[in-house]
Assembly symmetry: C2
Homo-oligomer: 705 residues x 2
C-alpha cells in the first residue's frame, strides 16, 4: 500500500493544530499596559535581531546558491540541488521565526495567567511551546512532501534519469530523489547552525553579562529592571532558546528522515523504503496531538503533579507511536520486517533513556547535582572541577545507550545478512527517536517562555507570589528541557551515522569504480579521524570564546551605565536598554561567521587533501567526539544551573552566601556550555556530513589522494 500520502496529510494537520493553539494563546489576556510595554520591547529586540541575522544569512545563501548552481552547471550536481538547498534554509529559518513570534506574544500572557494560578500559567506557556513544536514538524514534513512529490513527478519521465548498468528504473528514481533531498538537509543545517550559534552567543552573552555585573558585583536580583542588560537577556531567550532551537530541531527532524530515506536505495527497498520514515513522522504528529490532550491537571496541582501531567503527554505519544508503527511497517513494507519495527522501537526507547540519564545528572532531586551544590562550600574552584567531572562522567551512559541502540537496530533490521538493511535500521532508530518531536519540543520550548514571563513579572513588579509561580514554571521547564535535549543529542548521533553511510553511497553513485579503504589502519582514515575528533573542540572553543568576548563588552557597558547614569541604582533614572541589545545583535552576527566557515571548510579541505577515505574518518571522529562533547557540555551546564537553584532554595546559606557566589560562577560557565556550544555541536556533526555529500563530486574530482 502506498503510504506516501500520509506525509502531506500529517503536515497539514500539524500546521492547522499549531494555528488553532496559536489562536488560543493570543486570545488570553496580555496583562497590564506595563507588561505589554516590556513584552513589546523584548519582541522588538528579538525582531530586530532576527531581521539582521536573516539578512546576513541571506547573503550566505545567495553565495551558496550561486556556488551550487555553478557546480550543477559543471555537472557535479543535479539542477534541483541549489533550489532544494534554499528551501531547507528557508523553512528552518521560518520555524525559528514563528517560534519567536509566538513566544514573545506568550511571555506577558503567561505572566498574566500566572497571577491567577500556576496551572493557568503552565497552560499558556505549554500551548505556546506546542505551537512551535507543531510548526517545526509541520513545516518539516511539508518541505519533505513537496520535494518528494515534485521530484517523483519529474523523474517519472525516464528521459530525466541516467540509469546505471543493471539498475531498475525505480531504483534510479529513488536514487535521484533522495540525492536531491539530502541537499535540502544541508540548507536546513546551515540555517540551523547560524540560528543556533548566533542566537546561542546572543542569549548567553547577554545572560552572563547581565549576571556578572547585576548579581555578582552590584547585588541586584535577576531580571531587575535597573539592569541595563535585562532586556537583552530576555531578547536572548527568544532568539537563542526559541528561534535557535526551532531551527535546530527542524534540521534534526528532516535530517533523520532524509538520511534514512537515502539509505533505502542501497537496502533495496526503493519507494517503500523512502515512504516509511515519512509515514512514521506523520503518524508521530498524530500521536503527539493526541498526547498533548493528555496534558491536563487539576487546578491546584503541585509542581510534581504538573511534571507528571507533562510526562503523561510524552509517554502517551510514545505508546501510541509504538503501537501504530507496527501495522504501519507491516502495511508499508509487507511481511517479514518485524526487525525494522524493533529498530524504530529501539530509537524511541533510547531517546527516553537518554532523557532520563540527562535528568538524573542535572536535576537537583538526585545525588550528582546535590553533591555539586555541596562542593560550592569550598569555593568556585571546586564547583568548576566537580561540574566538569560530572559532565564527563555523564557521557558514558548516552554512549552506551546509543551503542546498544545502534547494535540492536542494525542486527534487528537484518544487518548480518544484508548490511545495508542494517544501516537502514540505524536510520530508522533516529526517526523513531524523533517521531514524537511535536510534543517533546513543546515541553522544551515552553521553558524559555516561562523564563521570559518571570522576567516580565519581575520588571512589572507583579509581586512575590507571581514571581514564585513563574520560577516554578521555569524550573519545571529545566527538567523537561533535559528530556528534549536527550532526544536532540541522541538523534543527532544516529542521524550523523546514517549520513556517513549516505555519503559513502553518494560517492558510489558518482564513481562506481571508486575503491574504498575505510580500514582504521589506513593513514588517511586515521588522520581524518584525528581531524574530525578535534573539530567539535575547535567549534566549542570558537563559540565559547565569542560568548566570553561579547559578555565582556556587555559587562563594560553595564558598568559604564551604572557609573554614568545618575539615579540608576536608586531606580529614579532609566537605563539605556537599547545599547546592550545593540552590542549583542552586532557581535553575535560577527561571531557566527568563524564557526560556520569551519563547518563548511573542514570537510572540503580534508577531502581535497586526504580524499574520500579521509573524509569518512573525519566524519566518524567528529560524530563520536562531538556527541560526547555535546552531552558533556549540556550536562555540566544543566547541573551547574540547578545546583545554583538548589542553593537558592535555601541550602548552604541560600542566596547571598559564599556558597551561592561560587555556584553562580559555575552557572556562568555552564551557560555557554549548555546553551551555545553544546547544542551547536549537534548541528555541526550533521552539517559536516551534509557538506561532504553535496561536495562529493568536487572532492572526487580534485582530491590529491
Amino acid at each position: 500500500m502506498n503510504l506516501s500520502y500520509l506525509a502531506p496529510v500529517g503536515s497539514v494537520i500539524a500546521l492547522l493544530f499549531a494555528a488553532y493553539l496559536a489562536r488560543g494563546v493570543l486570545k488570553s489576556d496580555p496583562g497590564s499596559r506595563e507588561m505589554v510595554r516590556i513584552s513589546m520591547a523584548v519582541r522588538k529586540g528579538a525582531g530586530a535581531y532576527l531581521k539582521r541575522q536573516y539578512r546576513g544569512v541571506f547573503l550566505f545563501f545567495v553565495a551558496m546558491f550561486l556556488l551550487l548552481a555553478a557546480m550543477a552547471a559543471g555537472g557535479f550536481l543535479t539542477m534541483f540541488v541549489p533550489f532544494a538547498f534554499i528551501t531547507g534554509g528557508f523553512f528552518s529559518g521560518l520555524s525559528g521565526f514563528i517560534g519567536m513570534k509566538i513566544a514573545t506574544a506568550a511571555n506577558c500572557r503567561t505572566a498574566c495567567a500566572a497571577t491567577d494560578s500556576l496551572n493557568s500559567g503552565l497552560k499558556v506557556a505549554f500551548k505556546a511551546g506546542a505551537v512551535m513544536g507543531f510548526t517545526v514538524v509541520g513545516l518539516g514534513l511539508f518541505d519533505l512532501s513537496f520535494w518528494f512529490f515534485f521530484l517523483k513527478f519529474w523523474y517519472s519521465d525516464p528521459a530525466h534519469l541516467a540509469l546505471a548498468a543493471g539498475q531498475s528504473l525505480e531504483s534510479a528514481q529513488v536514487q535521484a530523489i533522495t540525492s536531491a533531498m539530502l541537499t535540502f538537509g544541508m540548507g536546513a543545517s546551515s540555517m540551523a547552525l547560524f540560528a543556533r550559534v548566533g542566537g546561542g552567543i546572543y542569549t548567553k552573552a547577554a545572560d552572563v553579562g547581565a549576571d556578572l555585573v547585576g548579581k555578582v558585583e552590584i547585588g541586584i536580583p535577576e531580571d531587575d529592571p535597573r539592569n541595563p542588560a535585562v532586556i537583552a537577556d530576555n531578547v536572548g531567550d527568544n532568539v537563542g532558546d526559541v528561534a535557535g532551537m526551532g531551527a535546530d530541531l527542524y534540521e534534526s527532524y528532516v535530517g533523520s528522515v532524509i538520511s534514512t530515506a537515502a539509505l533505502a536505495v542501497a537496502a533495496g527497498l526503493e519507494f517503500k523504503g523512502v515512504t516509511i520514515p515519512m509515514a512514521l513522522a506523520s503518524v508521530g504528529i498524530l500521536a503527539s496531538i493526541l498526547g498533548s490532550f493528555l496534558v491536563s491537571t487539576r487546578e491546584d496541582a503541585s509542581q510534581k503533579e504538573l511534571l507528571t501531567a507533562l510526562r503523561r503527554g510524552i509517554w502517551g505519544s510514545g505508546v501510541i507511536i509504538a503501537a501504530v508503527a507496527w501495522p504501519l511497517i507491516r502495511i508499508g513494507l509487507g511481511p517479514g520486517y518485524t526487525g525494522v519495527y524493533a529498530a524504530v522501537l529501539s530509537g524511541l526507547v533510547a531517546g527516553i533513556l537518554i532523557g532520563y540519564s540527562t535528568e538524573y545528572f542535572t536535576s537537583d532531586t538526585y545525588g550528582p547535582t546535590q553533591k555539586l551544590a555541596d562542593s560550592s562550600v569550598t569555593g568556585p574552584g571546586t564547583v568548576i572541577i566537580r561540574g566538569i567531572s560530572l559532565g564527563m562522567y555523564s557521557c558514558v551512559f548516552p554512549v552506551l545507550i546509543v551503542g546498544v541502540s545502534v547494535l540492536v537496530s542494525f542486527y534487528a533490521a537484518g544487518g548480518s545478512s544484508n548490511f545495508n538493511m542494517g544501516l537502514y535500521g540505524i536510520g530508522l532508530s533516529a526517526v523513531g527517536m524523533l517521531s514524537t518531536l511535536g510534543i517533546t519540543l513543546a515541553t522544551d520550548a515552553y521553558g524559555p517562555i516561562a523564563d521570559n514571563a518571570g522576567g516580565i513579572a519581575e520588571m512589572a513588579h507583579l509581586g512575590e507570589d507571581v514571581r514564585k509561580r513563574t520560577d516554578a514554571l521555569d524550573s519545571l521547564g529545566n527538567t523537561t528541557a533535559a528530556t528534549g535535549k536527550g532526544f536532540a543529542i541522541g538523534s543527532a548521533a544516529l542521524t550523523a551515522l546514517a549520513l556517513i553511510v549516505s555519503y559513502i553511497n553518494q560517492v558510489k553513485v558518482i564513481n562506481p569504480e571508486f575503491v574504498f579503504d575505510m580500514q582504521i589502519t589506513n593513514p588517511a582514515v586515521l588522520v581524518g579521524l584525528f581531524i574530525g575528533s578535534v573539530l567539535p573542540f575547535l567549534f566549542a572553543s570558537f563559540t565559547m570564546e565569542s560568548v566570553g568576548e561579547v559578555a565582556q563588552s556587555i559587562v563594560v557597558e553595564v558598568r559604564r551605565q551604572f557609573k554614568e547614569i545618575a539615579g540608576l541604582m536608586e531606580g529614579t533614572a532609566d537605563p539605556d536598554y537599547e545599547a546592550c541589545v545593540d552590542i549583542c545583535t552586532k557581535s553575535a552576527q560577527k561571531e557566527m561567521i568563524r564557526p560556520a566557515v569551519v563547518a563548511i571548510a573542514a570537510p572540503l579541505l580534508t577531502g581535497l587533501i586526504l580524499g574520500v577515505n579521509g573524509v569518512i574518518g573525519m566524519l566518524a571522529g567528529a560524530t563520536a567526539c562531538g556527541f560526547i562533547l555535546a552531552v558533556m557540555m549540556a550536562n555540566s551546564g544543566g547541573a551547574w544551573d540547578n545546583a545554583k537553584k538548589y542553593i537558592e532554595s535555601g541550602k548552604h546559606g541560600g542566596k547571598g552566601s559564599e556558597a551561592h557566589k561560587a555556584a553562580v560562577v559555575g552557572d556562568t560557565v555552564g551557560d555557554p556550555f549548555k546553551d551555545t556550544s553544546g547544542p551547536s555541536i549537534n548541528i555541526l556533526i550533521k552539517l559536516l556530513s551534509m557538506v561532504s555529500i553535496v561536495f562529493a563530486g568536487v572532492i572526487l574530482h580534485f582530491s590529491i589522494m
Copy 2:
C-alpha cells in the same frame, strides 16, 4: 652490521652519567639546619607515600602475575609474559623512586645555591633533573636489552618455537621476542598509571587544598609555614610531578621502542628492524649527554639567557641525533631506507613543533595567555570560559602536526607499496620524538625541584631575593615543562597508533584465519569507536573528582587547624603537618583504584562483547579523543597557571586584586587539568592497547561477536 649491542652500552653509559651527576648534586651544600629539617620532612612524607603506594601496587602486580601465569598455563600466553610484566612494573617504579630520592635531596641544595646566585641554583636543579632523565632512559634501555638478549638466546633453540607455515626461523624468533616484550610494556604502563594517577591526585589535592584556604580565605602567601597543608603540598611535587612523571616517561620511552620493534616482523625487517629503535634510543642517550654539556651560561645571566642555555642543550641533542640517525639506519638496515630516516626526522621535528605550540598557548609572553589574564578583570566566570576555550582551540595544532607526521612517516617509509613498512615508519617517528628524552626530561624534572626549593626558601625565611630567584627558576621550569609535555603527549599518540597495529598483528599470530572487518561502517567498529572516545572523558572525570574530593578533605582539615590551634595564625604555634600528609596519602591510594579498573576492564569487556573489530575501533577512538583531551587539559591548565603569574607580576592590580582572585580560581581548576588528568590520559591510551594485546588470546577465545 649488528647494532644491537649499542643498547646495553647506551644503558650503562646513561646510568653511570646519572650516578656522576647525582654525586655532584649530593656534594653541594644542603644549607642551614632549618632547611635540612624541612627538606627531611618533605622527604619523609614522600617516602612514606611511595612506600604505601608500592605496597598497594605490589598486591596488584601479584594478582596480575597470578592471572597471567594462569593464562600462560592455559596456553594463551608464553611463560615469559608474567615475568616480563613484573620487570616492566619494577623498573618503572624504580625510575620514579630514584627521581624522588634525588629531587628531595636537591630541593634544599637548590635553595641554598640560590642564595649565591640564580645560575648556581639552576645548575643544582638541572643536574638533579638530569639524574632523573638519565635514570629513566638508562633503566628503560637496560630492561629492553635484558629481555631482548635473554629471549634471543632462548629462542635461538628452534625447539622453543612454533613455526607457522612458510615462516622463516628468524621471523618466528623476532615474533616470539617482540610479543613477550610487549608485555613488559604493559607492566610499565600499569605502574605508570598508578604512579601518575595516585601521585597526580596527591599533589593537586594538597596544592588546591592548601591554596583554597591559605591564599584565598586567609590570605597568607604560598608556602607559608603556618599553612598546615604546606608540607603535603611540597611532598606532592615530589610524588606527583617527579616520581609520577618518571614512571610515566619510562613507560612512554620503552613503549615507543617495543611497539616499533613489534612492527618490524610484519614489515619483513626481522632482527634488523628490531635493532633500529633500540640503537636510536641508545644514540639518543649519547646525544643527550653531549647536549647537556652545552647547558652553561655566564654567572649573571638573565632569565632569557638561561632559557636559551637550556634550549641549546635540547637543540644540540636534536641536531646530533638527526646527524647520527642517518648513518645508523644506513648501517643497520642497509641501503634503500632513506625514507625510514625521514620518518625518524619527522617525529623529532613534530615533537619540537608541538612543544612550541604548547609554549605559545601557555606562556605569558604570547597573546593567548595574556588575553586570558585580561579576562580575569570580569571575574572567575570569564576566566574559566576563556581558559577552556583556549585549551580547546590549542588542540588543533598538535592534531595537525601529528597528522602530518603520520602521513610523512608512513609514506616516506614506503607505506604506499609496503603497508607494514609504512606502519613501522609511524612507530619510528615516535622513537625519533623520544630519542632525546634524557635531556628533555632533565629540563622538565627540574621544575618541581625548583618549586620545592622555593617552598623551602619561604619556610626557612631565606629572604625576598632568594625567593625571587627560586620563583624565576620555577617559572623557567614552567616554560621548559611545556616542551617536555609536548614530547610526552605527541609520542603517546604515535605510540598508541603503533600499538593498535601491534594488536592487529598479535591477533593474526594467534589466529591466522581471523577475518578482520575494520571498516568504519562496521557497527562493532563504530560502537567501539564511541566507547573508546568516551573513555578519556570517564578517566578524566574520575581523576578530577578524586582531586576535588581529597582537596575538600584538606580544606576541612586546614580550616579545623586554624580554628582549633591557638596561635597558629600568629605564628606562635606549629600546625599539624602530618595530618594533611596522612589524608593525602590514604585518599590518593584509594582513589587510584577506580581509574585503574577502567583502564583494564574496558578493553576486556569491549573485546568480549564487540570482538576484535570492536576493540580496534575502541583503541582508535581512545587514541584520537584521548590525545585531544590530554592536550586541551594540559594547555588550559598551563595557561591558567601562567595567567595567574602574569597578574602577580603586577598586571591588572597584581596580587590581592579582584583580578588576581579570579585568576587563582582558574589556576585551581587548571591544577588537576594539567597535572593529574591530562598526563594520566597519555598513559591510559597506551595501557588500553597493551591490555588488549596481552588479552588478545582470551578475547579471541571467549568473545561473543
